[in-house]
Symmetry: none
């Protein structure tokens, strides 16, 4: 069985949360995480009479980074019209191809009903999945988008790879990103004005690169050495 | 484009009617017929602020027979546990096969939220489509079931992959590798003993990462900055 976590970021409607959980259960998925829900909304969703066990056992996280830290493939969802950023778009077919080529702990991330995922949210995603909706009505209801994605993921289990995971987890990449940012700050490449954009860009490049755990620890070793050398220079000045 | 009418039989919840119409529009379908809706419910659905043109132009019929009279393939939907009747079950794959083999005016028929399609309703259907839901949670929400079916019907045209990103040429990668090696030498991470192995390792990681030209020039910018900072430190010593 495919390991897939559904992550709802800042959901605003208890009915949609319930519908998302129901759709997961319809297609055999049980791992739900919710990021920064509005407390009264979350309470209402979980205490609804038709709340599923998926919902009552969901994990509530403060940040998206926390919700996907152990996942090796983080896929954000967005309609094509909203992705301003130059991130490669995944179709459902691309996703199936990736899942049959490599073994993954997958997270599927959905934004709030009103605004979807922000550019900052998307920077935590390896890929952006766009369902092939009509140009004149691209934006789907949250519960329905979760239903379609869960359906799509459950429709072909056979061809999946059982090879062991070698891809670094999102948490390992964040560790290397943190070191990288420190080095770039020390060297003056990161300035208050460009920091948010460059941070997102770097995170994206790291995610796209699909590095192995081994490569990430090599990278961290190199970065630590550069950092200590830069700090030495700074102290000597 | 496939000709497909969605038929809702005795729907009871205005939200579900609206959600069904929205999902149709998401996947490019516009032909909606409603059979014997409860009048106040129907009025509420059509007059909702977010009512789509699909909804306002829907045809209201007294009977299912009337709603599907001009269709050549009428497909009822039901979860497997509810079909007592000895009617051959269609999977989504079977439906795709039939639609690619023969030209059809298709009707997809959905029952009421509470009871689904009756045996009498099903008798008007050429086939019964059952979505592959989990045995412990087989019954889908109406709006979500319509979304999944419309998605499935539109997916053939959707299979095309998004445009590929322009991958950096090997020469660009070598330029960035050269800079990287200079930085690592300046910081003492590369030593005569480990240099050949680490250089090969870095080159491999760069190649595997399939960076875009844009990412490579960003990388080179960062490396140049680090390098100049490291050289400054060295000269000041």
């Amino acid at each position: 069985m495919l390991s897939c976590r559904v992550v709802l970021v800042r959901p605003r409607d208890p009915n949609n949360i319930g519908a998302a959980a129901r759709a997961m259960k319809n297609f055999g998925f049980t791992d739900l995480a919710v990021v920064a829900p509005y407390a009264p909304v979350w309470t209402e969703a979980v205490s609804a009479v038709n709340a599923t066990d998926v919902l009552t056992s969901a994990r509530v996280c403060d940040t998206l980074a926390e919700a996907v830290a152990d996942c090796t493939l983080v896929v954000g969802t967005a309609d094509r019209t909203r992705v301003e950023w130059k991130q490669p778009l995944f179709t459902p077919v691309d996703l199936q191809r990736e899942l049959s080529a490599n073994s993954h702990r997958l997270a599927l991330v959905f934004g709030s009903e009103k605004h979807g995922l922000t550019n900052d949210d998307l920077s935590f995603c390896h890929r952006v999945l766009s369902l092939p909706t009509a140009p004149d009505c691209p934006s789907m209801n949250l519960g329905q988008a979760v239903a379609v994605c869960c359906y799509e993921l459950s429709r072909d289990e056979a061809g999946r790879s059982a090879a062991p995971v070698v891809t670094a987890a999102a948490g390992e990449l964040e560790t290397s990103l943190k070191l990288m940012l420190e080095v770039l700050q020390l060297s003056g490449f990161l300035l208050p004005g460009n920091e948010p954009v460059r941070t997102r860009k770097l995170r994206q490049s790291l995610l796209q690169a699909q590095l192995s755990s081994q490569e990430v620890s090599f990278l961290c070793g190199a970065l630590r050495q550069i950092k200590s050398q830069l700090e030495k220079g700074t102290h000597e000045t």
